[in-house]
Symmetry: C2
Subunit: 383 residues, 2 copies
């Protein structure tokens, strides 16, 4: 019964804390949408300011990552209010107690920055494209486990199936392979990215072809450098196996378990940040397998001075490339130094390589940029 | 780029920490199976002892919940080793830094104790019934969103579909509604309980009828008492709406979206702890809708002195009850004071009410008890 008694004790303690919190909610603010039921903090103001509050009477110093030190009150609560509005969209945060970074136990956990952290959402006006809507049939995101011989371990893909999938038992679907960024994993597109609602809405509005979306973990090993290892080497190492795992294990598993169109015309790949680099490495080197390519804040890998030699010459013959690749999409946020991606797009165009440049206004190297990129990219596929 | 720069800084810092950790791994121990890739701690010894290690040079006091204070080393690492082996199975834990309880960012988060916490697994000998196996077709666990008019909010069920579901487009399946315990949610059976692997293995071995399993959130509101509220009242309140949500919203949503057999003969319900009480309240009061009933460490709600009046007289006529309810299963762990549940089973039998009593050897009020209960209960269904 030890754990039950502890739970009871815990209930009483938290009830006291909760009772105190109840009295101090600032006007014009709402709980962060990722808070657990009943958790009042963190809060987001109508003006986009964020309000953090942590009960830590015995701590010497409490900080919120990316935001700074909190101020201790006599009641044992530490508070932090952002000076101005935060950038709209989804932001990671951690509570740092006397130097120890931790996830907020009162918030939904997200895998980002290489560990389980918390997230706060500054609502976007007109952001309903990533929200569930009445009357919109909802697809499902499910796990698909497979044994990786390459890694000698069980791995899983998360698989989005459109709402109509089960109603058309003889229909086969095209597939988008969609990758996360550095330090994220296969859960990030569905959790941080709300990709299922974006897909549901696009399909219901007739803007997107019903398709299957597959998300897997492209960070095969920890990106924490091993003892004495150069961090750059570590970052190259930790995703090194992904190409072979995708081509020889993930794709065959998906094509054996789901009703899938298996030709290159019906296979797309996109990724964000690090996942965009992986996407370019994999697709440009395997144009016999992919015909739609998207890089979301992750297209920096191409050196346009060396187009002839890049990716084993995949870009050398613009006409041949354009015939093979129906969509090459380069997305970026306006607040994350978009110049390099924009120049890349222009240089590719000069070289005769068809591509689409999309700049997300007012967003940073974060998931709101990537939700918008997905929302722009998916309607272009399989048409 | 602010967040990117922070990420880079974070990478360097963690690499330093990681490098230090590398040198101090005790022999005969392995990382907890729920650690993120590359995280060395917590660790579990072959003898069942647990090893915790947290880098907190500036903290005054670091504890591991349910386990006690950690000891600070000169290198800034705090350590705790359990005196003896811990009980086998899955245990919750939190890191408590200077009095602030937090989830371990290096571990997979589990929703338990009313918040997102961490878990450590003491492997069970012969525990492969809840592990994936080569050659065993794996079913899927997916989310099924629906709008609750009762709560005026979007809610989701997690739905397990057997591996064969998509291969039999005209076949309809029986359904088990499976509930979590107090302070857990719809994710707990799949995460802590590994129910999908238990189902996959039972079905592959021919022990269980292929079925759909539906898991939803039975803790409708926070169980943290509102300002001045009696904790007992709060606990009654927070699940109060669940019966009507299950009967009028969840079941119709499932039966409209999946190929489901909709008669009482093909509908079962079970729950653990608090979810067992909910199961008894819902099924005994709706015997026209359910014919299989399971309570896992959660059968204490029946007062056998008042069988005639309990649940509106559902148990008054033993013969009629036995004709309606094909399985009444009472499971409990040997380390959580099983006497009350055992007496209940015996008193029910004396009253002529057929029931099955299962006692899990050596396990407490925790998920290993409930994994075993599920493994015992499911083969009895829909035969």
């Amino acid at each position: 019964m030890k754990h039950v008694l502890n739970l009871m004790l815990f209930l009483v303690i938290t009830s006291v804390i909760n009772a105190q919190v109840k009295n101090v909610v600032p006007e014009g603010t709402s709980p962060n949408e990722h808070n657990i039921v009943g958790a009042e903090y963190p809060r987001v103001g109508e003006d986009g300011r964020t309000y953090f509050r942590v009960y830590a009477p015995d701590a010497q110093k409490v900080e919120i990552s990316f935001r700074g030190e909190m101020e201790k009150g006599e009641d044992g609560f530490w508070t932090l209010v952002s000076e101005g509005p935060e950038v709209i969209g989804f932001h990671y945060y951690q509570i740092i107690i006397d130097g120890v970074s931790a996830a907020d136990p009162n918030g939904k956990p997200f895998f980002g920055m290489g560990k389980w952290v918390s997230g706060i959402e500054i609502p976007e006006e007109g952001g309903d494209y990533y929200q569930p809507k009445k009357g919109v049939p909802s697809g499902s995101v499910s796990d698909s486990w497979y044994f990786s011989e390459i890694r000698d371990e069980w791995r899983r893909s998360l698989v989005y199936l459109p709402a109509e999938y089960d109603k058309n038992p003889n229909k086969k679907y095209p597939v988008l392979y969609l990758q996360h960024g550095m330090g994220e994993n296969e859960t990030s597109w569905a959790n941080q990215g709300k990709m299922n609602f974006i897909m549901d809405n696009l399909i219901a509005e007739g803007k997107a072809t019903p398709m299957i979306v597959v998300m897997d973990n492209g960070n095969i090993e920890s990106f924490q450098p091993k003892h004495g290892e150069d961090p750059n080497e570590a970052r190259m190492r930790f995703g090194a196996d992904f190409s072979s795992i995708l081509l020889t294990e993930i794709i065959p598993n998906i094509e054996s378990r789901y009703r899938v169109l298996t030709d290159r015309e019906n296979r797309a790949m996109a990724g964000l940040s690090w996942g965009g680099l992986q996407t370019f490495n994999i697709t440009f080197n395997n144009l016999d397998k992919f015909s739609y390519i998207g890089g979301f804040s992750g297209a920096g890998g191409i050196n346009t001075d060396q187009l002839d030699t890049a990716y084993n010459g995949a870009l050398k013959d613009a006409k041949a490339f354009n015939e093979k690749v129906h969509v090459l999409f380069l997305g970026i946020g306006s607040e994350e130094n978009p110049e390099r991606t924009k120049n890349l797009s222009e240089n590719l165009s000069k070289a005769g390589i068809n591509n689409i440049y999309y700049e997300s206004p007012g967003t940073a190297h974060e998931f709101l940029t990537w939700r918008r990129c997905l929302n722009e990219f998916v309607p272009l596929l399989f048409k």
